[in-house]
């Protein structure tokens, strides 16, 4: 399996796409912090990149890679290897190479140029979101054999997690605004990896605002050790669960 992971990483790192992604992240993060004299504004732009661009690229790139590697997967299946190992190996390979790209392109420059607590939590959030969305991409590529359908599904997932979900929640919130919604909303927010990452970053970035108002319940929950642990475990669940379902499907799949 290690060999497979190594092979996938080398294969991906050699490709131009991942190079372009790294370069894009590097260029944006460098230009954001060197052109902007106000670091808070720079962090805000980085936040949008991490919450919007990173999941999108992770999803699309992984899905396309999985479809392009279908012949390679066929070859692997014919070898004396367990299917579980093959899929997890592929996941690890793709995920590690995207994590490397993110670290080089965004995390390192942000930490070097900004280095505040917000920068640290942002880097972690970016790494976590990459892992989550690669896992979701693997699932979508296992579910359907049709490449166009698979990519479409991945795009829909991205749209859902970064836009539709919040829109639906907002709608729900206005419909039920007469009820105490703080706690249910907290739970709903935690159920979306993008929202969860956003909230964790906000707790550092907008702490002054969050200390007042409803934000206080966020702070009470995620500000404690128990909250941090539960946030981390929810993130971990978002990585493991889709992958587990994908493995189950892949094991039964007629290739």
């Amino acid at each position: 399996m290690i060999k497979l992971v190594k092979y996938v990483i080398i294969d991906i790192l050699r490709s131009k796409v991942i190079f372009a992604y790294t370069l894009f992240l590097l260029a944006t993060s460098l230009s954001i912090f060197s052109l902007e004299d106000n670091p808070a504004k720079g962090l805000l732009s980085m936040l949008n990149i991490i919450l919007i661009i990173v999941p999108l690229v992770s999803l699309i790139f992984s899905t396309i890679y999985m479809y392009n590697a279908s012949e390679f997967i066929h070859l692997l299946v014919s070898q004396p290897l367990k299917r579980t190992q093959i899929l997890i190996g592929l996941y690890a390979g793709i995920c590690i190479s995207l994590l490397i790209a993110f670290t080089v392109g965004a995390a390192v420059p942000v930490l070097l140029l900004e280095g505040s607590a917000t920068a640290y939590i942002m880097s972690f959030a970016g790494l976590a979101l990459t892992s989550v969305f690669v896992s979701l991409a693997i699932l979508s590529s296992v579910i359907t054999r049709d490449k166009a359908k698979g990519i479409g599904m991945a795009l829909l997932m991205w749209l859902y997690f970064s836009l539709l979900y919040d829109g639906l929640l907002l709608l729900l919130m206005f419909q039920f605004s007469d009820y105490p919604l703080e706690k249910p909303m907290l739970v709903f927010c935690a159920l979306n990896p993008v929202d969860l990452a956003r909230v964790l970053i906000l707790l550092k970035m907008d702490i002054s605002a969050l200390m007042g108002y409803t934000g206080a319940i966020f702070n009470q929950f995620f500000g404690t050790n128990a909250g941090i642990i539960s946030a981390a475990s929810i993130m971990l669940l978002w990585i493991i669960l889709p992958l587990l379902i994908a493995v189950k499907k892949f094991n039964k799949k007629d290739l």
Partner: protein, 422 residues
């Protein structure tokens, strides 16, 4: 300029006091009475009893537990190093009612608490022309309590309390019905209000540090024509509360880390005709909260990293907000209605994204500091959880293009392109 005039004022009052002292000493052939273990007088009370106007009582190192010491003479009470007056958690330590006196260099500790009386470490009633300076007041209910007095200075005292509940904790420096007071360079920590003014006029509060008080760092009630400058208010329930007062000048203060559900850097309630100049508001949940506030000039202040820089309720009118810097605040403005009777003019907003074609330093398109999302939160606080989400960004952008919820006249017509050097 204003600061310079404040300094001159302080220097003038000090000279006046000094002259008064020299005057009194000169004519009354002043004695110096030593109190302590190695002197004939072991008790401060006895020394006070024989002292005459103009005498000085010097207290030697030691702990003095004498209950309540009452003074009604123009004398100086000066403590040597580590002269400690202990109230044993039962007594008010010093009660003074006189003109021309001095209390200096004494450590007061453990004054009593009563829910009937406002026990204080130093209580002054019906007095004038006095100085309370360089004292160290520890674990008091009220630390310094002055009522019905005028022309005095409270300077360079270190006051530290251990707050319990709001009802059972006293104020650091409490002034009631006074005028021409100068509160200078004190450090107040852990009381209910750091400094409390009620019916106090023509007074100055300068260069104090007021922190970790459970209610307000500085509190004005029904106090007019006062001036505070160069103070730091940090980590209080609210930095400064100005209520039911007129003509208060507030300059060059720092309001910081006042965070919480109802925490403000500066709380203005039912006040009019004042000025807020050259202050720094940073890391507060709400920088300035205005309610029933009229004709206030907010100029050349710096608002940085606050949750809300300004919260201007619809009950405010004729306030002018100009030449301020708004940098890295989560929200620049919030309000609770659609009525706008205030002027926003020529500020620097870091959220402004307009252009300046004629290069006069001012943006060519007006800036709307009130975001739609701030209005949504106002109606539905739970929406706070969507702060900075993609959905909210889209909503805000739409609102900027086609305004529908936010009041159209809530705008800065000449936003500056670059921050002011403040």
């Amino acid at each position: 300029m204003e600061r310079a005039s404040a300094k001159t004022k302080i220097i003038l009052t000090r000279t006046l006091f000094f002259l008064l002292f020299v005057y009194s000493f000169g004519f009354a052939s002043a004695k110096i009475i030593h109190v302590g273990n190695s002197y004939p007088f072991k008790s401060i009370k006895k020394a006070v009893a024989i002292a005459q106007a103009g005498d000085s009582i010097i207290i030697q190192k030691g702990i003095y537990k004498e209950g309540n010491i009452v003074i009604s003479k123009s004398i100086s009470l000066v403590g040597e190093h580590e002269a400690i007056l202990d109230g044993e958690h039962k007594f008010e330590i010093l009660t003074i009612s006189a003109n021309n006196f001095l209390v200096s260099g004494i450590t007061f500790q453990n004054s009593g608490y009563s829910s009937m009386n406002d026990f204080a470490s130093i209580k002054v009633i019906d007095a004038s022309a006095f100085i309370i300076e360089n004292n160290n007041i520890n674990n008091a209910h009220f630390a310094i309590h002055v009522s019905n007095s005028h022309h005095f200075t409270i300077e360079n005292n270190l006051i530290k309390g251990y707050p319990g509940e709001e009802q059972s904790t006293g104020n650091g420096i409490h002034l009631w019905k006074c005028n021409n007071a100068t509160i200078l360079s004190n450090h107040i920590y852990g009381h209910r209000d750091g400094i409390y003014f009620e019916f106090v006029t023509q007074s100055t509060v300068a260069s104090n540090m007021s922190e970790k008080n459970i209610r307000y760092g500085l509190h004005f009630m029904f106090s007019n024509n006062d001036y505070y400058t160069g103070n730091t208010f940090s980590d209080n329930g609210a930095g400064v509360a100005v209520m039911f007062s007129q003509h208060i000048q507030m300059t060059q203060n720092k309001f910081q880390f006042n965070r919480g559900g109802s925490a403000y850097g500066l709380l203005l309630k039912e006040i009019s005709d004042g000025a807020i100049l050259e202050n720094t508001f940073s890391n507060n949940t709400i920088g300035i909260y205005m309610e029933g506030t009229n004709r206030i000039l907010v100029k050349k202040n710096k608002f940085q990293s606050n949750g809300f820089a300004l919260r201007v309720q619809a009950s405010c009118s004729d306030n002018t907000i100009e030449n301020n810097n708004f940098i890295a605040n989560t929200f620049d403005i919030a309000t609770n209605g659609s009525l706008v009777l205030n002027t926003f003019n020529g500020n620097y907003w870091d959220k402004y994204r307009g252009y300046d074609l004629n290069h006069d330093g001012k943006g060519d398109v007006p800036f709307h500091p009130l975001s739609m999302y701030a209005m949504i939160i106002e109606q539905n606080p739970v929406a706070f959880l969507f702060l900075r989400s993609f959905m909210v960004i889209l909503l805000d952008e739409t609102e900027k293009t086609i305004p529908s919820i936010t009041p159209e006249n809530f705008r800065d017509d000449t936003p500056y392109m670059k921050p002011f050097q403040l």
